[in-house]
Each structure stands twice: as C-alpha cells, then as structure tokens.
C-alpha cells in the first residue's frame, strides 16, 4: 500500500503508475539495485560522503533568492531556487553524485548514461572523472547538434559521447541505446538514469537524491519568512527530476500547491509538442507505466520542444500519479512563452536561465497568486548551453 505521494509501493507503483517492465536480460541489474539501494543510501558512511560532496563539490545549499523585480511584476513573492548555481550548471549533479556512490558500492567499473540537453551527460561525466570511472554517454544525434557546448564539455571531462541515430534522434532514443548497452554489459556496468523515469527503483532513487532541493527550500523559507511552507512550488517537467526534487518534501503538505509545467512546443494542437499529460495516455516506455505520447496503435510519438531537456514523450510515474489524483496541477508553456520568460528573467533579475527552467518561469503568467503568497520556482539550470537558441531568438527581433 502506498502511504504517501512521495514513495512508491514495494513493486515500484505510484498508484497505477510505475513498476518494472523490463526484459529478463535486465532483471539481474535492476534487481541488484533494488535489493541494495535503500541500505546503501541509509548507510552513515554513504551519507557522510554524499553530503560532503553536495556541499564542497556541488556547492550546496544553493541559494533561495527572493526575486524583487519579478515579485513586483507578478504581484506576489517569487523565490528562485538557484539550482543553476550548482557545479555543472544544473540540478542534475545532485543525482549523479548519489548514483556514482551507489555504483561504487556495487563494485561497478563502467558508467553509462543518456542525455537530452546534455546537462545530465555533463553531470555524469563530471562524477566519473571525480571517481576515475569510464563514462559512456548516449545522446540523440539531433541533440548533439543543438547542444554543442555540452558535448564539448563531456568530451573534455573524458566521456565518450555516442550518437543515438534511431527514431527521433533525441532523448527517447538515447535512452533506448543506453538500455541496450546495459543489456549487453550486465556485469560491470552501472546505468545512471538522469530523470525520475525507468524501471523501479530508478524513479524512487532519483527522487530521493533530488529531494535535497525541497529539503533546503523548507529550511531556507523558515529562515526567511518564518514558515517552511510556501503557497506553491513550480517546476518544469520533461521526465521530471527537478520537479520531483522541488515537490518532494511538500507532496504530503496539502496546503502547498504543486505546479508542473510541461513543454507545449509550438502549441498543444500542432503535433509539435511534448506535453505528455495533455497529449498522452497511460502506456509503458523505458521500463515503467506512465503517461506517454503515442499513436492509437501504441507506437511512441516523437515529441518536440525547443528545449532538448523537455523533449521526451513521457513523464515519470510519480508525476503521472500526481496528475491523475489531482495533487499536482499540470500546466504547459510554448517555446515562445519559454523564450519570453527567459528574456524577462535576464532583464529583470540578471539571470539567464536554461530553456527548461524558462518553462517553469512561464507559469507565473498563467497562475495568479495573492500579494502575500510565497511562491518558489525551481531554476533548474543555467542558460549558457542555450545561447545559440537565444541568439537566434534575438536575431529574430526579440
């Protein structure tokens, strides 16, 4: 029985979503992880090393910044959780530090990962360099083109970047290739999944590692305003790892609104979108049951978003559960709305956000909050990697 929105049941289900739909070839790897991850994470020696690396290496706690001009504009108190200030430029490193320590304790020597925008790839390459482990990152051919700076960073960090050439040549296909690699290398290889997707226990494990975000928000809000609970927390959702981390310690606090923002791409009805809850239905991809964009015949549809990190046809099972139960409010923002929000943040606050995070910021235009409300937006990553897209937008007269 599931007792909390936070955690799945023993079989990895959040309500009707989750599970471990994997071929037998993956069973030993996933089972080894399932049997060990909770004990490993709970081990004081693990926690000591993890917390120290979060603090001294990743740069945690990240600031919770009261954005004065943004607050003035939207007539409410807007706080930005500055995950963009983490080492490697996004929240992804919270998870890769955790998983590399798990991999080390399981005696794995070779690390594989998938990446969309490249943020998870960079975060994985970084911790592999830190631990001296071999690192192979699968990345869609199309994403390799549009995220060139991150590809260069991964290579400089010693990782091998393997282009995924099948299907839509984006994150979904990079994930397929990484899973195939894992099937072919069952003994020495650990798969560091970058979002709250995949077979159980990945969604739970990744959510736990990212939950440091909401843990810090509670402490920081208490210091700033005398209460741990904001009116709302807002985050973008592709697979949904920064959202899972931002929501985690508020999920069982009914007074806190949970807002998830998906990528609408060119618009929900344009067939150029990645808003899985709006356009998808329950289905199975990459090892778990969740919301999935698919044809009537059950073929996975190719998503689209200007942001490579949100260009994924599904969402994590925890989010699917939040959606169907109504615990979470799911919004979506188009490419243009995200671009507008990014330029607005740059001009008002002097912060250039990642395109993914810009989707979360766009929610401020879609929901009205009261003057005395305190609203936290997760600024999941910084926009350096997206400068080419931003330059194009400026060239187009933005």
């Amino acid at each position: 029985m599931q007792v909390s929105y936070k955690q799945p049941d023993e079989q990895g289900y959040y309500g009707e979503f989750g599970g471990a739909y994997i071929p037998e070839m993956l069973y030993p790897n996933v089972e080894e992880l399932r049997e060990n991850y909770l004990n490993i994470i709970a081990d004081p020696a693990f926690q000591k090393e993890y917390q120290l690396l979060l603090k001294d290496y990743a740069g945690r706690p990240t600031p919770l910044y009261w954005a004065a001009r943004l607050s003035e504009k939207y007539g409410t108190h807007v706080y930005l959780k500055r995950e963009d200030l983490c080492h490697t430029g996004a929240h992804k490193v919270n998870n890769t530090i955790g998983q590399i320590l798990v991999a080390e304790r399981l005696g794995k020597k070779r690390i594989i990962a998938e990446t969309g925008a490249g943020q998870h790839g960079v975060a994985t390459a970084t911790v592999c360099a830190l631990k001296g482990l071999e690192c192979i990152v699968y990345m869609g051919e199309k994403d390799i083109e549009r995220q060139a700076p991150n590809v260069a960073r991964m290579k400089m960090l010693g990782a091998t970047v393997v282009p995924a050439k099948s299907g839509s040549k984006t994150l979904k296909d990079a994930t397929n290739e990484a899973i195939r690699d894992w099937i072919n290398n069952p003994n020495d290889t650990f798969y560091i999944i970058g979002s709250v997707v995949g077979p159980h226990p990945y969604p739970d494990m990744v959510a736990r590692f990212q939950s440091v975000i909401s843990k810090e928000i509670r402490t920081q809000l208490a210091e700033k305003i005398g209460t741990e609970l904001p009116r709302a927390v807002i985050a973008c959702v592709g697979g949904g790892s920064n959202a899972a981390g931002t929501f985690y310690h508020f999920l069982d606090e009914p007074s806190v609104g949970i807002y998830a923002v998906e990528a609408a791409g060119c618009g929900i009805d344009t067939h150029m979108s990645a808003a899985a809850t709006q356009l998808g239905k329950p289905g199975i991809l990459h090892g778990s049951k969740s919301f999935l964009m698919q044809t009537a015949d059950g073929q996975v549809e190719e998503p689209y978003s200007i942001s490579a990190g949100l260009d994924y046809p599904g969402i994590g099972p925890m989010h699917a559960h939040l959606f169907v139960t109504g615990r979470g409010t799911f919004l979506n923002a188009t490419d243009q709305e995200a671009l507008d929000a990014a330029f607005e943040l740059a001009k008002l606050e002097g912060i250039i956000p990642a395109l993914e995070s810009a989707h979360a910021l766009a929610a401020l235009n879609k929901v009205s909050f009261a003057k005395d409300d305190h609203v936290v937006v997760c600024l999941s990553g910084r926009g350096d990697k997206d400068m080419e897209t931003y330059m194009k937008a400026m060239g187009a007269g933005a």
């Binding site: 079989q11 739909y21 099937i183 072919n184 015949d297 059950g298």
Partner: protein
C-alpha cells in the same frame, strides 16, 4: 494436442523457430514470408509485431520494424492479414512484441483476436512475471494461448524454475546477455545451456540470440530442443526481390 506441443512431441531435437517481422519487407508480405518459412523447413514461426522502441532488439530488427511501421503495419491490420492464416500455415505461430501496443489494443481483445486467427502463443519480453501472474495470466489462459518467458545466463536457478512454471509451449533461453543480432563467442554459453538441460524443466528449451548459421544452430541443438533465428534471417531478406527464394536459400544454409 496443441500445435506447439505437437512439434516437440514429434521432434525432440533440432526444432527451428524463425523470427520474421510482420509487414517486412513489404506491408503485405507477412503471410507470403510465413509460407516461405514453412515450406523451407521452419518448425515454428515467431512473428514480430513492430514497435517503435524495441528495447530488447538490436538494430537489424528495429530497422525492420521501422520499415513495417512506415508501410502502415498496425495490430489491427496484422490480425486482418492473419485471418486466412490457418488455411495456409500449419506450423505453430507465436507472436512476439512489446507491451505498449498490446495494452493500447486492449490486452483481452488482443488475446481474443490472436486466438481467433490461430495464433498459438505470445512472447512479450517486457512483461515481467509479477505483472503476468497478478494481472494477465488468467486472460492468456482463458484464450488457450501459450506464454513464453525468457531466461538468460544470469537468471538464477530458482528464477529459471519459476519462469519455467509460468511458461507453456517452450522456454526461450537467451544465449547470452545481449540484445538480438549481437555477435559474441558462442562457446561461452554452452556451459549455461548444459546447466539448463540438467535442471530437467517442464518446457522444451529453444535457444535464441546469436544463432545465425548451421554451426551455431547445430551447437545450440546439442544442448537444447532447438533454436530461434531472427536478425540473420531479417538481414537475408533485405533487398531481395524474391522472398521465397531468399528464404529457401537461407534456411537451407542453416539446416545443411
């Protein structure tokens, strides 16, 4: 006696199961390819239901699926194509594919339609035993279908026995931990097949993955009841104008 049981009752050794993708190489070539396989000596036909994201398969089968999907193959069309199957095909036919298309079609409707056209069994590699036992087993049984689980060299003895108990028709022994079409040294897996043989399981064992020619087929048959060929046959069909001739040529090379 069911067609699958019949095959193994008549033939303890050297059972040849050949995989083909429905709708490949042409959307309407499903039945002609199956006929060619039957005439060339295949004892069982494993018919792949094309899926956009076939995790357990390699590049060759994924590409064949992509071509089939681009040609317009769907599960509805497949069942339509298979309506006259039993007028022409007498060997057992096993459908292989992934859970998502089956779920969208409706699991029970899928089983009903498969049984109605004369399909004998199902292989759904991403449906794990827990979900099978708790949700789907009774439906599969209700329609008289066999369900075939995979085991690998990494599967423990206890789990092999559990998967054997849940399977009917045969047990699919993946020759090595890999996706289909992967070339690995075959001798490395002979010990594992010997181990499986010594368990004295309920189901006959067919070896799959890495079987591509007479040598690998006969070596697999030394330790099991037969073997499954997939990627190598799909490769043999690529770009061939005469599918029947290509099939005959390929199967002849395997059977010697």
């Amino acid at each position: 006696m069911s067609r699958l049981k019949d095959v193994f009752a008549k033939k303890e050794k050297n059972v040849l199961n050949v995989y083909c993708t429905a709708g490949f190489p042409q959307v309407n070539s499903t039945l002609p390819v199956m006929e060619a396989l039957q005439e060339s000596g295949a004892d069982i036909i494993e018919l792949g239901m094309p899926y956009s994201d076939p995790l357990a398969d390699g590049e060759v089968i994924q590409n064949s699926s992509t071509i089939a999907l681009q040609g317009g193959m769907t599960l509805s069309l497949l069942f339509e194509q298979l309506k006259p199957m039993r007028e022409r095909i007498h060997v057992p036919v096993v459908l292989m594919g992934y859970m998502n298309p089956v779920l969208q079609y409706g699991f029970e409707k899928f089983c009903a339609d498969a049984a109605a056209v004369g399909v004998d069994g199902l292989i759904l590699p991403d449906l794990p035993p827990f979900e099978f036992e708790t949700t789907y087993k009774t439906i599969v049984e209700q329609y008289g279908l066999s369900f075939i689980f995979l085991v690998t060299p990494e599967t423990s003895e206890a789990r092999v026995r559990k998967l054997d108990a849940l399977s009917s028709g045969f047990l699919y022994a993946v020759s090595s931990s890999s996706t289909t079409g992967n070339e690995k040294e075959f001798s490395a897996v002979e010990q594992y097949l010997e181990r499986l043989k010594n368990y004295g399981l309920n189901n006959p064992i067919l070896v799959g993955f890495g079987i591509k020619d007479q040598d690998t087929f006969s070596r697999a048959c030394n330790y099991a009841n037969g073997a499954i060929i997939g990627s190598a046959y799909i490769k043999a069909l690529e770009g061939q104008p005469d599918l029947a001739a290509a099939t005959r040529h390929f199967i002849k090379k395997v059977l010697g």
